[in-house]
Structures are given as structure tokens and as C-alpha cells.
């Protein structure tokens, strides 16, 4: 059955959960423990008026995006390598498994020994994103239709043409789903790294200090900033995917 689009569904959902939040805050009735949405919105508005707020957000955003981009690139390249070479696969597949199994906190503390705290969140995001992209891309490469690859062979497609016409479109859904999954992961691990290492100009540092001084409204406000940044990037990625899909459907990227 097809799901019907309900007009204003997003606004209704938002209003519902804001209402639940307000009710819980009223029930707790202690701003210090659980501030309501109005208090947090006021604090957020006040923060947005300060230059520091935008600077901190931009620096954190840059750190996380750089780490994610490097992780996506390295994961994709590594997947191509392990798909082509059994030796590389034998070497790197277990390593990727280990990276995924190790708790992010262990990595943060370990990497802190080797790199400065300002660059550490980027390294952590890179490490968290790398195995996710590698495993999705590897699955995408394995899923490439053997019959289509035979067709490419019979008709003498060059490597580049095979990559463009057969592998690329086969991998694209896996790659995009990996990018989507990585966004959330990047934000969570990046901010966690910032909280634990408190680098200069970082959302994580603001969260840590808000907790230290029991400034719960700030804690909520900065958490909201993280959520909004993550949602905005996800929205931009989705828009880019739709645009890409439309261009392809219009024949703009045919053989």
C-alpha cells in the first residue's frame, strides 16, 4: 500500500514532541534539571546573537566535515583496492572489523596520545566513517551484476566505461546510504571527541562546560545546534541525491 502524504505532517510532529517536552519540563518543574522548550529557545536565540556561537559552530562543522570527507574518500578507495586484490582484502577486512568493534571512547583516549586535541575530532570522525563506507562500498562492488559485467566484456568496454556504466550505478545506492549513515555517526563521534578532549572553539567544549557549571539550558541549546546541523546536512545531501537522480533520468549522464 502506498503511503499518503499528509500536509503539515512535519509541523504536527514537531508541535507534538515540543508539547511533550513542555509537559515533562512542567512536571519536573526545575529549570536546572530539565529546562522547557521556551527556556532553551531563548538561550539559543541569545547564543545566536554572539559572534562566538557562529565561530564555534563553524569550526566544529569544519572539523567533522573534513573527517567525514576524508573517511568517505579513503573508504571508497580502500573498497576498490580490496575488491581487486585478495591480499589487500585479507589485510584490511579484519582491521575494519576491529575499528568497528573498538569503542569510540577508547579511540579518543588512544589517539589523544598521538595527535593534538584540535585535530583529534577530525581523526576520530575519519576512523568512524572509514569502515562504514568501506563495508557498504565493498557490498556494492560485490553486488555488481555479473551478467552486465559479461556484457561489458563481450562488447569490449574500457575499464573507465565499465566503471561508469556498470559499477558506478550499482554502487551509487550503497555509497549514498553509507554517506547518510556516516553523517549521524560523524556528528556523534566528532562531538563526543570534542567533549572528552575539550579543544578550543568546539561545540563539544561548550557542552562540557555547560555540564561542568550545571548550565542545563546551554547543554540543551548546544545539543539542539548539533541536531540542527546534522539535519541540515542530511537535507542538503538528500537534495543533492534527488538532483543527481533527476539529471540521470533526463539523460544527462547516459553512455
Amino acid at each position: 500500500m502506498k503511503s499518503r502524504r499528509i500536509p503539515g505532517k512535519g509541523i504536527f510532529t514537531l508541535a507534538f514532541w515540543l508539547g511533550v517536552w513542555a509537559l515533562v519540563a512542567a512536571a519536573v518543574d526545575r529549570e536546572l534539571l530539565f529546562p522547557g522548550p521556551v527556556t532553551v529557545a531563548r538561550r539559543l536565540a541569545a547564543l545566536a546573537g554572539e559572534g562566538m556561537f557562529w565561530r564555534v559552530t563553524a569550526v566544529s562543522l569544519l572539523r567533522i566535515i573534513c573527517g567525514a570527507a576524508a573517511g568517505i574518500f579513503a573508504g571508497a578507495v580502500l573498497a576498490l583496492g580490496t575488491d581487486r586484490s585478495r591480499l589487500l582484502d585479507a589485510l584490511f577486512a579484519p582491521l575494519m572489523g576491529v575499528i568497528q568493534a573498538v569503542p569510540v571512547a577508547s579511540f579518543i583516549l588512544l589517539v589523544l596520545i598521538w595527535v593534538g586535541r584540535d585535530i583529534l575530532p577530525t581523526v576520530i570522525v575519519f576512523l568512524m566513517v572509514l569502515p562504514v563506507v568501506w563495508s557498504n562500498m565493498s557490498e556494492g562492488l560485490r553486488s555488481a551484476d555479473g551478467e552486465l559485467l559479461e556484457l561489458a566484456r563481450v562488447y569490449g568496454f574500457s575499464r573507465w566505461k565499465t566503471a561508469r556504466l556498470v559499477y558506478g550505478p550499482s554502487i551509487a545506492p550503497y555509497f549514498l546510504s553509507a554517506c547518510r549513515a556516516c553523517l549521524g555517526l560523524a556528528w556523534k563521534s566528532g562531538v563526543a571527541a570534542e567533549v572528552l578532549t575539550v579543544p578550543a572553539q568546539a561545540i563539544g567544549r561548550e557542552l562540557y562546560e555547560a555540564k561542568l557549571y550545571m548550565n542545563t539550558a546551554d547543554l540543551f541549546a548546544w545539543t539542539a545546534v548539533v541536531a540542527v546541523c546534522s539535519l541540515v546536512i542530511e537535507y542538503l545531501l538528500d537534495a543533492a541525491i534527488v538532483r543527481l537522480g533527476r539529471r540521470r533520468r533526463m539523460g544527462g549522464d547516459g553512455p
Binding site: E147, L148, E150, L151, R153, V154, Y155, G156, L165, V166, P169, R248, G251, G254, P255
Partner: protein
């Protein structure tokens, strides 16, 4: 153009072909008949170099190969015209030619359709259009008239006859009428090899 000399082929323990000797010179047309799974497709795959013989030798001197697989094998993310154009040289400049070939198989109106929007018979015709557009000197057609309704059968058969003129053709079919119409020599499968039908 293509020569099979005492060719044997096994998949694991299963012997598919044993001692096939067959030769098709330039411009010769050969039809292969036999029950499903007897090894007709395997012989075409050997000719295309997709599998190696377990024993014996396959020599192919084709400069340009065109192979219509039994199943259409269309690139699902491209339109019918783009699928035909994919096997042509020269990038998107081949699109008018691709559309022309689709018109030849009666699919001018479906040129911009994606494979998922095509019926089995239409997809098979795109497969044929792609093969013919390639203009190979060796044509390998694996049951090219499969899935076609009776109304189109004659038209496509005539198109294949016209196109195959002057080219070497290896075609597999279950239909003796198609075999006789397309080929100078018809072979049938018997005891692991192909023997001519008089």
C-alpha cells in the same frame, strides 16, 4: 572466422560438450538446435571467449563481435536508446543511430523508456537492436526470437536475415523454421556434440 576443434567443456563434474568440431567461415550461417541445457549457449559463450574449453581449441578471427544474450541484459539505469548506444563507439553522438535501430525493431516510441517499463518481448527487441547496431562481423544470437509474439516474429526474422548477410552467424534456436530461414547449415545436439541435419 570461428573454429571449434575437438572442444570439450565441463562445469565441475558435469560434462556439457565433448569433442565438438565445427567451423564457420566468413559469411557462413550456422544454426544450433537441441533441447534446453544441452550446451548451445555454452558453445556461443566459448565463441565469445567468456569461458575456456576444458579441452580442444576455439579460434575466433572476428574483428568485431556482436552477441545477443538469451536474456536481454539491459543496463537497468539507462533508457532503451542509451542501452543501444552503450555498445556503439563515439559516446552520445551514437544516439540517433541507436534510435534508428530501435525503430527497425518497432520500438521507436519506447526509445526513452527504462528497461523496467518494457515487457519481456520489448526488452528482447532492445537486446536485438543493440546487437545489430553493433555491426559485428561475427553475430552470436542466442534464441533471438524468444519471447516475440507471432505478429512480430516474421518481421524480426526478416530483419535478422537482412542484417546477417555478409556476416558470420552462429544462432541457437528451438524453432526449425527459424533455423532453416537463418542458416545455411543446421546442427543438432547428439551425445555431447553437434551433428548436421541434412
Amino acid at each position: 572466422m570461428i573454429r571449434f576443434e575437438d572442444v570439450c567443456l565441463s562445469y565441475g563434474d558435469k560434462q556439457v560438450l565433448s569433442g565438438v568440431t565445427l567451423h564457420a567461415g566468413p559469411g557462413e550461417h550456422i544454426a544450433l538446435m537441441g533441447h534446453s541445457g544441452c550446451g548451445k549457449t555454452s558453445l556461443l559463450r566459448l565463441a565469445a571467449g567468456l569461458v575456456r574449453p576444458t579441452a580442444g581449441m576455439v579460434t575466433c578471427r572476428a574483428k568485431r563481435l556482436a552477441y545477443a544474450f538469451q536474456e536481454p541484459r539491459l543496463l537497468p539505469w539507462f533508457t532503451a536508446a542509451e542501452n543501444v548506444n552503450a555498445v556503439l563507439d563515439g559516446g552520445r553522438s551514437g544516439m540517433p543511430k541507436a534510435r534508428q535501430w530501435l525503430a527497425e525493431v518497432g520500438l521507436a516510441d519506447a526509445a526513452d523508456a527504462l528497461p523496467r517499463e518494457l515487457s519481456g518481448g520489448m526488452a528482447q527487441r532492445v537486446n536485438l537492436a543493440r546487437t545489430l547496431a553493433r555491426e559485428g562481423d561475427l553475430l552470436l544470437l542466442d534464441e533471438p526470437l524468444k519471447e516475440l509474439d507471432e505478429a512480430l516474429w516474421e518481421d524480426i526474422l526478416a530483419l535478422l536475415q537482412r542484417h546477417a548477410e555478409g556476416r558470420t552467424l552462429l544462432v541457437t534456436t528451438h524453432d526449425i523454421r527459424a533455423a532453416r530461414a537463418l542458416a545455411d547449415r543446421v546442427y543438432t545436439f547428439r551425445e555431447g556434440t553437434f551433428v548436421p541435419i541434412e
